[in-house]
Protein backbone atom coordinates (compact mmCIF):
# COMPACT_ATOMS: atom_id res chain seq x y z
CA UNK A 1 0.00 0.00 0.00
CA UNK A 2 1.45 3.33 -1.04
CA UNK A 3 1.63 6.33 1.23
CA UNK A 4 -1.02 8.95 0.55
CA UNK A 5 0.15 11.79 -1.64
CA UNK A 6 0.36 14.98 0.41
CA UNK A 7 -2.14 17.61 -0.66
CA UNK A 8 -0.48 20.70 -2.09
CA UNK A 9 -0.79 23.76 0.09
CA UNK A 10 -3.65 25.95 -1.11
CA UNK A 11 -2.80 29.34 -2.57
CA UNK A 12 -4.66 31.19 0.13
CA UNK A 13 -2.62 29.37 2.80
CA UNK A 14 0.57 30.37 1.00
CA UNK A 15 -0.62 33.96 0.82
CA UNK A 16 -1.35 33.93 4.54
CA UNK A 17 2.03 32.37 5.30
CA UNK A 18 3.78 35.03 3.21
CA UNK A 19 1.93 37.80 4.98
CA UNK A 20 3.08 36.30 8.26
CA UNK A 21 6.67 36.57 7.07
CA UNK A 22 7.36 33.26 5.31
CA UNK A 23 9.33 34.19 2.19
CA UNK A 24 9.38 30.57 1.00
CA UNK A 25 5.64 30.83 0.60
CA UNK A 26 6.21 33.71 -1.81
CA UNK A 27 8.69 31.60 -3.75
CA UNK A 28 6.15 28.79 -4.02
CA UNK A 29 3.47 31.17 -5.29
CA UNK A 30 5.89 32.48 -7.92
CA UNK A 31 6.86 28.93 -8.89
CA UNK A 32 3.22 27.96 -9.34
CA UNK A 33 2.00 30.93 -11.30
CA UNK A 34 4.79 32.87 -13.02
CA UNK A 35 4.91 30.73 -16.17
CA UNK A 36 1.13 30.77 -16.57
CA UNK A 37 1.10 34.54 -16.18
CA UNK A 38 3.82 34.75 -18.83
CA UNK A 39 1.77 32.67 -21.25
CA UNK A 40 -1.29 34.75 -20.55
CA UNK A 41 0.61 37.98 -21.26
CA UNK A 42 2.14 36.58 -24.42
CA UNK A 43 -1.21 35.28 -25.63
CA UNK A 44 -2.85 38.61 -24.92
CA UNK A 45 -0.37 40.45 -27.12
CA UNK A 46 2.75 41.18 -25.06
CA UNK A 47 5.94 41.20 -27.10
CA UNK A 48 8.05 38.12 -26.29
CA UNK A 49 11.00 40.22 -25.20
CA UNK A 50 8.85 42.04 -22.66
CA UNK A 51 7.07 39.07 -21.12
CA UNK A 52 9.60 38.54 -18.30
CA UNK A 53 9.46 42.16 -17.21
CA UNK A 54 5.68 42.16 -17.35
CA UNK A 55 5.53 38.99 -15.28
CA UNK A 56 7.75 40.65 -12.67
CA UNK A 57 5.58 43.73 -12.68
CA UNK A 58 2.40 41.67 -12.39
CA UNK A 59 3.77 39.79 -9.40
CA UNK A 60 4.98 43.01 -7.82
CA UNK A 61 1.56 44.62 -8.16
CA UNK A 62 -0.11 41.49 -6.85
CA UNK A 63 2.09 41.10 -3.78
CA UNK A 64 1.73 44.79 -3.04
CA UNK A 65 -2.05 44.42 -3.07
CA UNK A 66 -2.52 41.00 -1.47
CA UNK A 67 -5.07 42.51 0.92
CA UNK A 68 -7.34 43.07 -2.04
CA UNK A 69 -7.36 39.47 -3.23
CA UNK A 70 -10.84 38.11 -2.63
CA UNK A 71 -10.42 34.46 -1.85
CA UNK A 72 -13.55 33.36 -3.66
CA UNK A 73 -11.69 33.74 -6.96
CA UNK A 74 -8.63 31.67 -7.84
CA UNK A 75 -5.30 33.36 -7.16
CA UNK A 76 -4.16 32.72 -10.73
CA UNK A 77 -7.28 34.31 -12.19
CA UNK A 78 -6.61 37.35 -10.03
CA UNK A 79 -3.05 37.48 -11.36
CA UNK A 80 -4.40 37.32 -14.92
CA UNK A 81 -6.68 40.20 -14.15
CA UNK A 82 -3.71 42.26 -12.91
CA UNK A 83 -1.73 41.24 -16.00
CA UNK A 84 -4.56 42.39 -18.19
CA UNK A 85 -4.63 45.81 -16.49
CA UNK A 86 -0.89 46.05 -16.85
CA UNK A 87 -1.06 45.21 -20.52
CA UNK A 88 -3.77 47.80 -21.02
CA UNK A 89 -1.49 50.39 -19.39
CA UNK A 90 1.34 49.33 -21.69
CA UNK A 91 -0.88 49.59 -24.76
CA UNK A 92 -1.98 53.03 -23.63
CA UNK A 93 1.62 54.13 -23.14
CA UNK A 94 2.30 53.08 -26.71
CA UNK A 95 -0.81 55.01 -27.77
CA UNK A 96 -2.73 51.99 -28.94
CA UNK A 97 0.12 50.35 -30.80
CA UNK A 98 -0.13 46.63 -30.25
CA UNK A 99 2.86 44.76 -28.92
CA UNK A 100 2.36 41.65 -31.03
CA UNK A 101 5.45 40.95 -33.08
CA UNK A 102 7.17 38.04 -34.69
CA UNK A 103 10.59 37.50 -33.24
CA UNK A 104 13.02 34.66 -33.46
CA UNK A 105 11.88 33.37 -30.10
CA UNK A 106 8.32 33.04 -31.45
CA UNK A 107 9.27 30.49 -34.04
CA UNK A 108 9.15 26.98 -32.66
CA UNK A 109 11.85 24.57 -33.70
CA UNK A 110 10.05 22.31 -36.16
CA UNK A 111 11.46 20.18 -38.93
CA UNK A 112 8.86 21.28 -41.51
CA UNK A 113 9.64 24.88 -42.49
CA UNK A 114 6.38 25.38 -44.40
CA UNK A 115 4.26 23.96 -41.61
CA UNK A 116 6.29 25.94 -39.13
CA UNK A 117 5.59 29.18 -40.97
CA UNK A 118 1.88 28.45 -41.28
CA UNK A 119 1.64 27.61 -37.60
CA UNK A 120 3.51 30.75 -36.67
CA UNK A 121 1.27 32.86 -38.87
CA UNK A 122 -1.84 31.31 -37.35
CA UNK A 123 -0.52 31.90 -33.85
CA UNK A 124 0.33 35.48 -34.70
CA UNK A 125 -3.16 36.02 -36.09
CA UNK A 126 -4.60 34.47 -32.95
CA UNK A 127 -2.55 36.75 -30.71
CA UNK A 128 -3.51 39.77 -32.76
CA UNK A 129 -7.13 38.72 -32.56
CA UNK A 130 -6.89 38.23 -28.81
CA UNK A 131 -5.31 41.62 -28.32
CA UNK A 132 -8.23 43.23 -30.19
CA UNK A 133 -10.93 41.53 -28.16
CA UNK A 134 -12.73 43.43 -25.44
CA UNK A 135 -10.98 42.81 -22.18
CA UNK A 136 -13.59 40.54 -20.59
CA UNK A 137 -13.87 38.40 -23.70
CA UNK A 138 -10.10 38.00 -23.83
CA UNK A 139 -9.78 37.11 -20.16
CA UNK A 140 -12.68 34.66 -20.20
CA UNK A 141 -11.39 33.01 -23.36
CA UNK A 142 -7.84 32.59 -22.05
CA UNK A 143 -9.00 31.36 -18.67
CA UNK A 144 -11.12 28.74 -20.42
CA UNK A 145 -8.72 27.75 -23.21
CA UNK A 146 -5.40 27.89 -21.35
CA UNK A 147 -6.47 26.97 -17.84
CA UNK A 148 -9.69 25.04 -18.36
CA UNK A 149 -11.28 27.20 -15.68
CA UNK A 150 -15.00 26.62 -15.14
CA UNK A 151 -17.42 29.46 -15.81
CA UNK A 152 -18.35 29.59 -12.13
CA UNK A 153 -14.72 30.27 -11.17
CA UNK A 154 -14.22 32.70 -14.04
CA UNK A 155 -17.29 34.63 -12.93
CA UNK A 156 -15.96 34.88 -9.37
CA UNK A 157 -12.54 35.99 -10.54
CA UNK A 158 -13.77 38.59 -12.99
CA UNK A 159 -16.75 39.86 -11.05
CA UNK A 160 -19.39 38.69 -13.47
CA UNK A 161 -21.96 35.89 -13.66
CA UNK A 162 -21.36 32.39 -15.04
CA UNK A 163 -23.95 33.04 -17.75
CA UNK A 164 -22.28 36.28 -18.80
CA UNK A 165 -18.88 34.55 -18.78
CA UNK A 166 -20.26 31.89 -21.12
CA UNK A 167 -21.62 34.55 -23.46
CA UNK A 168 -18.25 36.38 -23.46
CA UNK A 169 -16.50 33.11 -24.28
CA UNK A 170 -18.74 32.34 -27.22
CA UNK A 171 -18.44 35.87 -28.58
CA UNK A 172 -14.64 35.55 -28.34
CA UNK A 173 -14.65 32.16 -30.08
CA UNK A 174 -16.79 33.48 -32.90
CA UNK A 175 -14.57 36.50 -33.51
CA UNK A 176 -11.34 34.54 -33.24
CA UNK A 177 -12.56 31.83 -35.61
CA UNK A 178 -13.13 34.50 -38.23
CA UNK A 179 -9.62 35.84 -37.74
CA UNK A 180 -7.71 32.60 -37.54
CA UNK A 181 -9.39 30.33 -40.10
Amino acid sequence: MSAPTPQPIADHDLVRAYREGDEQAATELVRRHAAAVGRFLYSAGAAPGEVDDLVQETLFRAFRALDRWRRQGAFRSWLFSISSNLLKDEFRKRKGRQMVSIEDRDIPDRSDPAGELAATEAETRLREGLSRLPRLQREVFLLRAQEGTEYQQIALALGTTPGAARVHYHHAVRRLKELVS
Partner: protein, 176 residues
Protein backbone atom coordinates in the same frame (compact mmCIF):
# COMPACT_ATOMS: atom_id res chain seq x y z
CA UNK B 1 -27.89 21.15 -24.89
CA UNK B 2 -26.91 20.32 -28.44
CA UNK B 3 -24.00 18.08 -29.38
CA UNK B 4 -22.12 21.17 -30.62
CA UNK B 5 -22.57 22.89 -27.23
CA UNK B 6 -21.48 19.76 -25.36
CA UNK B 7 -18.34 19.52 -27.45
CA UNK B 8 -17.64 23.21 -27.06
CA UNK B 9 -17.79 22.86 -23.29
CA UNK B 10 -15.38 19.91 -23.31
CA UNK B 11 -12.83 21.38 -25.71
CA UNK B 12 -10.57 23.09 -23.12
CA UNK B 13 -10.30 19.92 -21.02
CA UNK B 14 -9.42 17.78 -24.05
CA UNK B 15 -6.96 20.38 -25.36
CA UNK B 16 -5.25 20.51 -21.95
CA UNK B 17 -4.99 16.71 -21.86
CA UNK B 18 -7.42 16.28 -18.98
CA UNK B 19 -9.83 14.28 -21.11
CA UNK B 20 -10.05 12.61 -24.52
CA UNK B 21 -12.67 12.60 -27.25
CA UNK B 22 -14.99 9.63 -27.35
CA UNK B 23 -15.79 7.94 -30.70
CA UNK B 24 -19.12 9.80 -31.06
CA UNK B 25 -17.48 13.10 -30.36
CA UNK B 26 -14.70 12.40 -32.83
CA UNK B 27 -17.29 11.51 -35.44
CA UNK B 28 -19.17 14.74 -34.78
CA UNK B 29 -16.00 16.77 -35.11
CA UNK B 30 -15.28 15.21 -38.48
CA UNK B 31 -18.77 16.00 -39.70
CA UNK B 32 -19.24 19.51 -38.26
CA UNK B 33 -16.96 22.19 -39.78
CA UNK B 34 -18.03 24.75 -37.20
CA UNK B 35 -17.04 22.53 -34.26
CA UNK B 36 -13.83 21.51 -36.04
CA UNK B 37 -12.84 25.17 -36.54
CA UNK B 38 -13.54 25.88 -32.88
CA UNK B 39 -11.56 22.83 -31.82
CA UNK B 40 -8.53 23.94 -33.88
CA UNK B 41 -8.80 27.38 -32.31
CA UNK B 42 -8.96 26.05 -28.75
CA UNK B 43 -6.13 23.60 -29.41
CA UNK B 44 -3.94 26.42 -30.71
CA UNK B 45 -4.90 28.77 -27.88
CA UNK B 46 -4.13 26.13 -25.28
CA UNK B 47 -0.59 25.77 -26.67
CA UNK B 48 -0.01 29.47 -27.20
CA UNK B 49 3.18 30.59 -25.51
CA UNK B 50 4.29 27.15 -24.35
CA UNK B 51 7.31 27.29 -26.66
CA UNK B 52 8.12 30.77 -25.44
CA UNK B 53 7.92 30.75 -21.68
CA UNK B 54 9.94 28.22 -19.84
CA UNK B 55 9.71 28.00 -16.08
CA UNK B 56 11.24 31.15 -14.69
CA UNK B 57 13.74 30.87 -11.86
CA UNK B 58 11.28 31.22 -9.00
CA UNK B 59 14.02 31.89 -6.42
CA UNK B 60 15.52 34.73 -8.46
CA UNK B 61 12.15 36.20 -9.36
CA UNK B 62 11.03 36.10 -5.73
CA UNK B 63 14.28 37.62 -4.48
CA UNK B 64 13.91 40.50 -6.91
CA UNK B 65 10.25 40.87 -6.01
CA UNK B 66 10.89 40.98 -2.26
CA UNK B 67 13.70 43.51 -2.73
CA UNK B 68 11.36 45.79 -4.68
CA UNK B 69 8.62 45.39 -2.10
CA UNK B 70 11.01 46.22 0.75
CA UNK B 71 12.31 49.27 -1.12
CA UNK B 72 8.78 50.47 -1.71
CA UNK B 73 7.84 49.98 1.94
CA UNK B 74 10.84 52.14 2.91
CA UNK B 75 9.83 54.85 0.43
CA UNK B 76 6.24 54.80 1.65
CA UNK B 77 7.49 55.13 5.22
CA UNK B 78 9.63 58.17 4.35
CA UNK B 79 6.74 59.79 2.50
CA UNK B 80 4.42 59.15 5.46
CA UNK B 81 6.96 60.75 7.82
CA UNK B 82 7.23 63.78 5.54
CA UNK B 83 3.48 64.17 5.42
CA UNK B 84 3.32 63.86 9.19
CA UNK B 85 5.98 66.56 9.60
CA UNK B 86 4.17 68.79 7.11
CA UNK B 87 0.91 68.26 8.99
CA UNK B 88 2.52 69.12 12.29
CA UNK B 89 4.13 72.20 10.78
CA UNK B 90 0.77 73.30 9.39
CA UNK B 91 -0.80 72.74 12.79
CA UNK B 92 1.97 74.76 14.42
CA UNK B 93 1.40 77.63 11.96
CA UNK B 94 -2.32 77.51 12.71
CA UNK B 95 -1.62 77.62 16.46
CA UNK B 96 0.74 80.56 15.98
CA UNK B 97 -1.87 82.36 13.88
CA UNK B 98 -4.44 81.90 16.62
CA UNK B 99 -2.21 82.72 19.57
CA UNK B 100 -0.12 85.65 18.35
CA UNK B 101 -2.94 88.24 18.12
CA UNK B 102 -3.87 87.58 21.77
CA UNK B 103 -0.35 87.82 23.09
CA UNK B 104 0.91 90.67 20.90
CA UNK B 105 1.37 94.01 22.66
CA UNK B 106 -1.08 96.75 21.85
CA UNK B 107 1.73 98.95 20.57
CA UNK B 108 4.03 98.28 17.68
CA UNK B 109 7.15 98.16 19.87
CA UNK B 110 6.94 94.51 20.87
CA UNK B 111 9.95 92.61 19.52
CA UNK B 112 7.96 89.89 17.81
CA UNK B 113 9.89 88.91 14.69
CA UNK B 114 8.16 90.21 11.62
CA UNK B 115 8.73 86.86 9.92
CA UNK B 116 6.53 85.14 12.48
CA UNK B 117 3.45 87.31 12.74
CA UNK B 118 1.97 90.58 11.65
CA UNK B 119 0.14 93.12 13.72
CA UNK B 120 -3.07 92.22 11.89
CA UNK B 121 -2.81 88.71 13.29
CA UNK B 122 -2.59 87.08 9.86
CA UNK B 123 -0.32 84.04 9.61
CA UNK B 124 2.50 84.46 7.16
CA UNK B 125 3.62 81.70 4.86
CA UNK B 126 6.42 79.96 6.71
CA UNK B 127 7.88 77.33 4.44
CA UNK B 128 10.98 77.12 6.59
CA UNK B 129 8.87 75.67 9.41
CA UNK B 130 7.75 72.73 7.33
CA UNK B 131 10.98 70.85 7.68
CA UNK B 132 11.35 71.39 11.40
CA UNK B 133 10.87 68.52 13.78
CA UNK B 134 8.23 68.71 16.48
CA UNK B 135 10.73 69.58 19.21
CA UNK B 136 11.92 72.64 17.32
CA UNK B 137 8.38 73.75 16.56
CA UNK B 138 7.57 73.50 20.26
CA UNK B 139 10.69 75.51 21.02
CA UNK B 140 9.48 78.23 18.62
CA UNK B 141 6.11 78.26 20.31
CA UNK B 142 7.90 78.58 23.68
CA UNK B 143 9.92 81.49 22.36
CA UNK B 144 6.75 83.17 21.17
CA UNK B 145 5.26 82.76 24.63
CA UNK B 146 8.39 84.33 26.10
CA UNK B 147 8.32 87.21 23.65
CA UNK B 148 4.75 87.93 24.61
CA UNK B 149 6.19 88.66 28.05
CA UNK B 150 7.34 92.02 26.64
CA UNK B 151 3.78 93.18 26.84
CA UNK B 152 3.99 92.62 30.56
CA UNK B 153 6.38 95.58 30.67
CA UNK B 154 3.27 97.74 30.40
CA UNK B 155 2.02 96.19 33.60
CA UNK B 156 5.21 97.04 35.42
CA UNK B 157 4.21 98.60 38.79
CA UNK B 158 6.99 101.20 38.26
CA UNK B 159 4.85 102.76 35.56
CA UNK B 160 2.23 103.55 38.18
CA UNK B 161 4.54 106.27 39.43
CA UNK B 162 4.68 107.99 36.04
CA UNK B 163 2.49 110.98 35.39
CA UNK B 164 0.95 111.61 31.97
CA UNK B 165 3.92 113.59 30.76
CA UNK B 166 6.37 110.82 31.75
CA UNK B 167 4.19 108.17 30.13
CA UNK B 168 4.04 110.13 26.90
CA UNK B 169 7.82 110.48 26.91
CA UNK B 170 8.26 106.75 27.52
CA UNK B 171 5.87 105.88 24.70
CA UNK B 172 7.64 108.30 22.42
CA UNK B 173 10.96 106.70 23.25
CA UNK B 174 9.61 103.18 22.52
CA UNK B 175 8.10 104.33 19.28
CA UNK B 176 11.42 105.94 18.33
Amino acid sequence: MTQCERLSDRMPDVALGRSVWGPDERQHLDACPDCLAEWKLIEMASRLGTSLTGSPDAEAVTASLLTRLAAERRNVSVVHRRWLAAGLAAAAVAIIAVRVPHSAPPGPAAPVPSSVATTSGQALPLPELEDLPVSELQSILGALDDSSGVSRAFDDPALDDFDNHDLERALGAWEG
